[in-house]
Subunit: 155 residues, 2 copies
DNA sequence: ATATGATCGCTAACATGTTAGTTTGTCAGC
DNA sequence: GCTGACAAACTAACATGTTAGCGATCATAT
């Protein structure tokens, strides 16, 4: 008896897990009129002080074309400022504004607290185990996987 | 010394994990001109034979408005057919076509094989442990989490 | 029979994901 | 000084995610 296919659908399972978690935080972000990705960007900047778009793309797992729009809207909201980099005219440096720095200081404790409530409800052990597993997975993904050979398409 | 914030960003971590996995399968889907979500839909139908849009939404973790577009495009590609349901004029029944059934039979072994290659490269134990943990998480998410209290917005 | 509320699939509006390709600027080598 | 390879940010085009709400249909109680 072969396994049910959905048991071997890891991307879908990870999507569901992510939705399970993020839905606990969505009300907080909505309360402050931020999308998930906008908050990811602000949070990344809050950690580092400031950074270039391509750095933000990496640490937020957002592709460059998406980041362009996100930064544009954050700019229109007055939540980031941008200064051209001296020495390399291709690059830009993105910073938080006073407004967004204060906003971040307000949101972060709420997020941490909600996080704590999740651990209380679902058990801190499971959560920390998932952390470890996922981090192991991401580390191990440095090992290159052989791609399956694709047949020639008939139709 | 407090933990680095990104260590407590579970949604982002899950996103990265998912990207890590799905990137191994993307070439297969691209080879057949399918998007990730289109394949998720076809696969769901292949498992069940046929089903209503709202069922597909659940099992594919896709929201209804997205599913509308996905089914529309799958229809234009000749990969699904739809018949109105007798007895309830609101509902529709979606089925695979001969074309998409054959397509699925061609893709599924490739996906399974790629999956096997991933396990070979990264170790089957880690993968199966992630399965178990994530499934535990999803089960445990039935336990309702108390939402953090949101302060009144000043600005 | 009728009002009421619920459900299904949908549209609308906007934000983001994804791929391909463009523009401008940097740098190494000649 | 010029050329070619490369890199950063961007645009374009399309697919999907997200929230709100609509219209038709069904179920139920009255």
């Amino acid at each position: 008896m072969d396994q049910h296919i959905s048991q071997r659908n890891l991307p879908l399972l990870l999507t569901k897990a992510r939705e399970t978690i993020i839905s606990q935080f969505r009300p907080i972000l909505k309360h402050y009129g931020l999308t998930e990705q906008q908050w990811r960007g602000l949070r990344g900047l809050f950690e580092e002080g400031r950074g270039e778009p391509c750095y933000l793309c990496e640490c937020c797992e957002i592709l460059s074309p998406s980041m362009t729009g996100i930064l544009k809207r954050l700019g229109e909201m007055g939540l980031i400022s941008r200064e051209p980099m001296q020495g390399d005219k291709r690059r830009v440096l993105i910073s938080l504004t006073t407004k967004s720095e204060q906003l971040s200081r307000e949101i972060i404790p709420l997020v941490q607290h909600q996080y704590h409530l999740i651990e209380q409800a679902w058990g801190p052990d499971l959560i920390s185990q998932i952390y470890n597993d996922i981090e192991s997975l991401i580390e191990r993904s440095n090992v290159k996987v052989k791609p399956v050979q694709l047949p020639v398409r008939s139709t």
